[in-house]
Symmetry: C2
Subunit: 463 residues, 2 copies
């Protein structure tokens, strides 16, 4: 079977400026159309993997699976998962792109790496078709955030090697907006001066950098960030834009209501989860390019994607050429919101609520520290947002109640602590179905570190 090199459903042109969608044909497909397209593409992709990738050929053979065996979507369960550890091993065995590489080297045109704070970075390769799909994915995301031709789009992510560097810049060019490739490397002072000198309509960065720029603006430019007249703020890389407290603070600092969250991971492109203008979760914007499924994180058994379910999402590239992934276990736990969305997209929304590696099991219930954080965060401004989950012994199994230390806001009256405690315990029970025991602690008493704060501690190790 010939692998079709340039699939006609990927567009190369600018969207209709009045449309809410960059690519309405693809973004508004019905579930039935999507399924039919996914199955058709999977048939080609499985054959491609078998023909071109050493790693997948071995995996298929070990599983006794031939690409010809694939009839429809449920058959995909006959194939093994792919894990992060496998990718690392595959890369170590065949530098730099790994044994899963499925395109010849002379078709690769782009490289990105994960941060690689310890040891060798994980490398992703892209062919020209992969780049077209990556551009398509981000064009859909940014267009849906309201970015349009004529907008000056400042990229505040790190440029060097990073997936949100060159790939983001070329996607902005693909969209037809004005790419201003400042990068996090220039730091806040240089960034703000360029924003003043060139003019800035859209700011893309991590929530931390957005907040930092907002704080520094007056000091560097002599006026508040609202005067820069940024219209759209978006990005990701860490939680923030989807946390109500953080988002509202950013909205106030910058004077715009258009603050949107975007989630992806380096290996997953062109998969992207992104807010629409109605928020309430993140849509998967490329169901024609990536198949996303849910599994139970403990058993690996498939979970039907319907409203309210929680599971680990796994994904399968439908036509990635260089570093395709098949049933890849992300370790990210999502909750599905399948209620009809005002934006008109038929795709359900996915909210990342935790990671499998920090999951707790409270009397059979899966509980994610980040989910607790979200519920507690909703009590702002009464709480500071700092929180600790205190376990008797290392997880994942925990005997209820779940012991929590929650930091009160500055100047929160002690007289109201009892009431706050009761309200929060009740909210956690209602939303997460877990019994908790909360101790309110005074502002500043929980340890803060430079990076992520430690959410889970063992008794006797609390700070």
């Amino acid at each position: 079977m010939m692998y079709v090199k340039r699939l006609p459903e990927v567009r190369y042109e600018e969207g209709e400026i009045s449309s809410y969608f960059w690519n309405p044909e693809a973004e508004l497909m019905s579930p039935e159309e999507t399924l039919a397209l996914q199955e058709k593409k999977l048939r080609m992709q499985l054959q491609y993997l078998f023909d071109k990738s050493e790693l997948y050929q071995e995996k298929f053979k070990r599983a006794g699976f031939s690409p010809a065996d694939f009839g429809n979507l449920p058959d995909l369960d006959l194939l093994p998962f792919t894990t992060k550890q496998e990718l690392r091993k595959s890369q170590e065995e065949s530098l730099p792109f790994g044994r899963h590489l499925a395109a010849p080297l002379d078709k690769v045109i782009r490289v990105t790496t994960t941060a690689g704070t310890t040891g060798r970075p994980v490398v992703q390769a892209y062919t020209r078709n992969d780049v077209i799909r990556r551009n398509e994915s981000l064009s859909r995301v940014l267009w849906n955030f309201g970015v349009r031709p004529g907008d000056k789009v400042f990229n505040g992510f790190a440029l060097s090697m990073f997936n949100a560097g060159i790939p983001f810049c070329t996607a902005v060019e693909n969209l037809g907006a004005i790419d201003v490739p400042v990068g996090a490397e220039r730091r806040a002072d240089g960034f703000l001066r360029l924003a003043r000198d060139i003019g800035i309509d859209v700011l893309i960065a991590t929530p931390s950098f957005v907040r930092y720029l907002g704080e520094k603006c007056h000091e560097v430019l002599g006026f508040p960030a609202t005067d820069l007249n940024v219209r759209v703020i978006c990005g990701g890389g860490e939680p923030g834009f989807d946390l109500p407290g953080v988002r509202e603070e950013i909205m106030a600092t910058w004077g715009t209501e258009h603050v949107y969250d975007l989630a992806s991971m380096s290996d997953a492109h062109p998969n992207s989860f992104a807010n629409c203008r109605f928020r309430g979760g993140k849509h998967q914007v490329t169901p024609d390019l990536v198949l996303v499924q849910l599994v139970d994180p403990q058993t690996g058994r498939q979970i039907e994607v319907r409203d309210g379910v929680v599971g680990e999402y796994i994904f399968t590239h439908l036509d990635r050429e260089a570093c395709p992934l098949l049933r890849y276990r992300t370790g990210d736990i999502v909750r599905i919101n399948a209620k009809p969305c005002e934006c008109g997209r038929p795709t359900p929304r996915f909210d990342i609520i935790g990671r499998t590696d920090d999951m707790l099991i409270v009397r059979g219930m899966n509980v994610f520290p980040s989910a607790i954080q979200t519920v507690v965060g909703e009590f702002a401004p009464k709480v500071s947002g700092a929180l600790q989950i205190v376990l008797d012994k290392p997880g994942p199994s925990v005997e209820p109640p779940l012991n929590l230390k929650v930091e009160a806001a500055k100047d929160f009256p002690a007289s109201q602590e009892e009431q706050l405690k009761n309200e929060m315990e009740s909210a956690i029970h209602k939303k997460l179905n877990v019994r908790s025991s909360i101790q309110i602690v005074s502002y500043g008493s929980l340890q803060r570190t430079e990076k992520k704060s430690k959410l889970i501690v063992i008794k006797g190790e609390e700070a």
Copy 2:
């Protein structure tokens, strides 16, 4: 007249891997074909400037010139020059892209800036067609340096906002080679580790950064730079790759003979001057996209481009959309090498030998400090390369002989100084037709600064 949006002569596909040329049809045009194409395009471009750009419309009107007046190339002389000062003023009057902007903002997709060490940076805008032409220009250059699909091309220029950042990265992708966007921002340690981990075939950077990486390699990686097996080293941004001493040092440090120079300037793209594999000057690789002419730097009168002549080069974009330049005075003085080149290109070669703003006039002869530097540099390893031109009073007029201080190499025997002095004076006279008086000074006695060393000093101010 309709402005043709996508001109068919610009290619979008990868070159034939066995060909020495990326785009042989364009790169091997005869002088007659080139002239015919340039005149045809100029007719369209002048109308476009008149219709779309406020600045040029005014300039045309002031000159009493209507685009319909343009018949053939000599008519271009009826139009005024454009200068750097005009661009700065144009930009100040209409932020951020200037009154010369000829495309609507919603057609702009890319921004670059000059370094802007003092004050507001100068901003360049690009439409999608401008980006295609920029990619085309750099693809021709890199392909002609021997870069091919499958090669891992490390970009060691600064990425943030810089013309050799995103534009270079997308050009590498356009060529079909593997873009590795490391950037100067990651500094030597990070750069070298990535080169080791990912593998590096082509290194693009300034000569200084290439030399610095070569020096640091053993310290960072524990082995010499030759072990990295880089095949092609190229770049520019400062003199170096075309200076015999520097090039040979780089060739030895990195163990490759493929060291090539490339020259352009931020406002000039897609104009590029680049070595071919036979070196001996730099070809203008895009005569179909940019018209390059020579003028006498003092009178502004046109000089015919033929072998051996020296003049300031001016250029005119033939189809740039966003920031087109018309008869732009670069201030760069070039010497023409129009001898047939073994590579087969019919275009003459241009060597930048100086800047109009540091030109000296010695009894009617134009003398460029950098030209003297080149002649002196050829005496390495007898000289250190450091040099000062000592004037009685500020230039440009100088009474012969030209007084020079030339630093001897470390351990150069004093007994041979007289002979060296005579040889150099004679070489300068032979090559530049200028009488000089040289004083040999001992190694280390001429001042060195962090940046460029001061080539011209006034008597009493020497160090």
